[in-house]
């Protein structure tokens, strides 16, 4: 009896880790952008393009790491676009983000049709060319550690390392201090000689890079190809996780684990013969998102200058 419970628990933990990973990358992207004062609801679109580029490069090149980096570059280009509109031209950040959310899937589909003989789905990457599984076969068969770690892809561990690196960067380095100051009070930062534009560009591009990683963590690890419905809202859930996590990397991680966990739970429950239709169960992550946001978002505080374009006063 206890064995069964532990085994089931281990399985839920395993699926939680797996499903949280793309969210964690993307959420970190949101953290860095919004801490510099630029809202990025384009995470979804950036994730989609990352997922496509990751899957396509993974298929054609066969090296998952190169594909992963390519996905980051593609996301970063979208980030550059967002920065160009919002930082240089002071455009409305929500509108720019929405545009990117249309652009990402559109371009992904367009390229997919060109490179995969008109198909909207990329061809599957063979298991050997997917992300490696570092702890595969290390733990004895049937042990709890085996259940949890055996099938985890390298992206899972990379995501956890990245959370630590982001935390260290934001709170322990001078550039992190400056980045946060730009998101809180850009005028103050400017009067101290900090280059607001440069920092925001950096942050928004990095945000795209990590959303791209998030997409690739989906298409190169959890599944092995890209299809238009692959991301379906994960970018928005990552955004919600960032808010729920109070704009902090460590908070975002916990929130992503919660959302990933609810997804894992949905998958886990799916194997039983319930009287509840599977569609309802797969709604679980989204319902939890809404409930959590209603319950907690009021108490978390965004960076003061989040969403406000910075314009220098008329100098001339």
């Amino acid at each position: 009896m206890i064995d069964t419970i532990l085994t089931n628990l281990a399985m839920i933990i395993a699926t939680t880790l797996m499903y949280s990973t793309p969210l964690v990358f993307t959420s970190l992207g949101g953290v860095i952008s919004e801490n510099s004062g630029v809202i990025n609801i384009g995470l979804e679109g950036m994730m989609v393009i990352g997922a496509f580029i990751g899957a396509a490069l993974g298929y054609f090149i066969g090296n998952p790491w190169l594909a992963f980096i390519g996905a980051g570059v593609a996301g970063g280009l979208f980030g550059l676009l967002h920065a160009f509109a919002c930082v240089t031209f002071g455009a409305n950040q929500i509108v720019s983000g929405i545009a990117i959310n249309f652009l990402g899937p559109g371009i992904a589909l367009f390229l997919s049709r060109i490179f995969f003989e008109g198909a909207t789905m990329t061809k599957s990457i063979s298991l050997d060319n997917k992300m490696p599984r570092p702890l595969n076969g290390i733990f004895p068969e049937g042990s709890l550690l085996n259940i949890i770690f055996d099938n985890q892809y390298a992206t899972v561990y990379l995501a956890l390392i990245m959370v630590f690196l982001f935390w260290f960067f934001l709170y322990k380095t001078k550039y992190g201090l400056r980045l946060i100051s730009v998101g809180e009070h850009p005028t103050a930062a400017d009067t101290l000689g900090i280059n607001v534009m440069k920092i925001r560009y950096f942050a928004v591009i990095m945000s795209g890079v990590f959303a791209g990683f998030g997409g690739a963590a989906m298409s190169l690890a959890i599944v092995s190809n890209f299809r238009p419905t692959l991301i379906s809202g994960h970018g928005f859930i990552a955004l919600a996780a960032m808010i729920f996590g109070k704009w902090k990397p460590q908070g975002a991680l916990l929130a992503c684990l919660l959302f990933g966990g609810s997804q894992g739970l949905a998958v886990f429950l799916g194997q039983f013969d319930f009287e509840i239709s599977s569609q309802l169960i797969s709604m679980l992550p989204y319902v939890i998102t809404i409930v959590v946001l209603i319950g907690f978002v009021g108490k978390s505080a965004a960076p003061s200058a989040d969403g406000i374009p910075y314009e220098k006063e008329h100098k001339n």
């Binding site: 322990k172 380095t173 809180e184 930062a189 009067t191 100098k315």
Partner: protein, 513 residues
């Protein structure tokens, strides 16, 4: 002795020559000269919008001058951004603090010049040591680990000064430093300024408060509408002389007020209890009444329940218990709309937040309370012709400048913004006018105007409740003075019999009940 003789033996650290600054067609500064001497306090006096801040923003590299030259220690410099100003030893404490609220004091001070160990990793140990060192050296006590959002305004100001000193500032620009301080804190600030000059720092003090200039400054340059009017040795001049040079006409400091007998009680508060945002009782069983034809001044130190009391009367905050009546009508917990219709008008504490819609023009702002009434509105459609006629009447009567009803409220100077509010509220012909901090941040000309308006209300047999942190103002304008302390009225005195020391004691919680 004269300015020329007084400065003959001093070292010139800054020389600004023929500085002109145009914003489009508007000449903000017209060939202004300014000399700053080592170890001296140089005041910059002028009305709101005279060009004081513009001149300093040019010196600090936030604006470019249209023409003119700047010399620092005799060397010509081209200050195109704050970094260059900082390199030349210029530091600026802005009127609106430039602090990152969630950061600690130490983080704010080191921001942009962070001590690091390896690979850009912050060395907070060194930061704390550095901050402690300069804070002790200049007698500017701060808690380096406290977060900005948790410390008082005067402490925040010290952090700003430390920020400049940390960057090696030799010349410190203080932009309206006392606007946000209590009287006690102002005394402390003047002491800090004296300590700094003793250490050889030069101070530029932007202000329109004559008393402070008299107390703190060595020299005073007066600017009016972008033009350099005069530079004087402060010890050889009087406040009256400074004021008339600043405004361009004689200004009376004595509020001109006839003796007058007050009428019947018209407004009363009984056992009022109000809580603040943290759910703490801040107005505690307060009793107060105002009569027709009198100005009741409410004196007290900021944070003793004034804001909550004001919000309770005007319907902006829930009343826990107690009763407020005007003309015998109960207005407890009524909506602001109902309260306005009970003939209570309100000049709010924060004119930009509550007094005006900054992105509306003057004419729209004048009808905020009456927009739905005839002739401003017919069958739900705004009648802009009538609104403009009305607005222009007010502009003429209250001398609002510029004389243009379509001007956005945001673009007006503080004094003119306040005039729009005063015009709107008084023209509503209220039985009770509540004026909260009505002269905060205004220059002498505008202060005179506001005081005159309040007294006119009283002379017309209306009641006025004046809430102010400026004791001088309360004493000069009021007929009776009530002192509030910790949410209670701790004493009421006749203005004629009031003594500063006694009131000060009551405001601090001592004295008779």
């Amino acid at each position: 002795m004269g300015y020329k003789n007084a400065t003959r033996s001093l070292t010139k650290v800054i020389e600004m020559k023929n500085i002109t600054k145009k914003f489009g067609d508007f000449v903000a500064l017209d060939s202004v000269n300014l000399d700053i001497f080592k170890g001296k306090v140089h005041a910059l006096l002028g009305e709101n919008g005279a060009g004081k801040s513009t001149l300093m923003n040019i010196l600090y590299g936030l604006y470019y001058s249209t023409s003119g030259e700047i010399f620092i220690n005799g060397e010509k410099v081209n200050i195109t951004n704050p970094n260059i100003a900082i390199e030349h030893g210029i530091g600026m404490v802005h009127q609106h603090f430039m602090l990152i609220k969630p950061f600690t004091v130490a983080q704010n001070i080191i921001l942009g010049r962070e001590p690091i160990s390896k690979m850009s990793v912050l060395n907070m140990k060194k930061a704390l040591k550095d901050v402690k060192e300069i804070s002790e050296r200049y007698g500017l006590y701060v808690d380096p680990n406290a977060k900005i959002e948790d410390i008082s305004v005067s402490m925040q100001q010290r952090v700003e000064i430390l920020k400049a000193l940390y960057r090696g500032a030799e010349i410190l620009i203080l932009d309206e430093p006392t606007a946000v301080l209590t009287p006690q804190e102002i005394i402390e600030l003047i002491q800090i300024i004296k300590n700094l000059t003793k250490e050889g720092k030069s101070i530029i003090l932007i202000s329109h408060k004559l008393k402070e200039i008299k107390e703190a400054a060595d020299f005073c340059m007066i600017i009016r509408r972008g033009k350099h009017i005069d530079t004087v040795v402060v010890s050889e001049t009087t406040e009256e002389e400074l004021a008339s040079k600043m405004v361009g006409r004689e200004v009376s400091f004595v509020v001109d007020k006839k003796d007058k007998k007050a009428g019947d009680e018209i407004f009363s508060i009984k056992d009022l209890v109000v809580k603040d945002n943290r759910n703490i009782i801040t107005v505690d069983k307060l009793n107060l009444s105002v009569k027709k034809g009198e100005i009741l001044g409410l004196a007290g130190i900021d944070g003793n329940g004034q804001t909550e009391l004001l919000e309770a009367i005007t319907g902006l905050r829930k009343i826990e218990s107690g009763e407020i009546k005007i003309n015998g009508n109960d207005i407890t917990n009524k909506t602001p709309f109902q309260i306005i219709n009970n003939k209570i008008a309100h000049i709010p504490e924060d004119r930009q937040k509550r007094g005006l819609v900054l992105d509306f023009d003057i004419s729209e702002n004048t009808i905020l309370e009456n927009y739905y009434k005839k002739p401003f509105s017919k069958k739900g459609i705004l009648q802009y012709n009538n609104i403009n006629v009305y607005a222009n009447e007010l502009i003429d009567k209250f001398d609002i400048r510029p004389k243009k009803a379509s001007k956005m409220a945001r673009t007006l100077s503080g004094g003119n913004q306040q005039k729009v509010i005063v015009a709107r509220e008084i023209t509503n012909d209220p039985d009770l006018l509540i004026a909260a901090q009505p002269t905060r941040g205004l220059d002498v000309g505008a202060i005179e105007f506001v005081h005159k308006s309040l007294i006119e209300q009283r002379d017309n047999e209306k009641a006025v409740l004046l809430i102010s942190f400026e004791l001088d103002e309360v004493m000069n304008v009021s007929d009776r003075i009530a002192v509030i302390y910790e949410g209670k009225i701790v004493g009421i005195v006749d203005a004629k019999d009031a003594e500063v020391e006694k009131l000060g004691l009551m405001m601090a919680g001592g004295g008779n009940k």
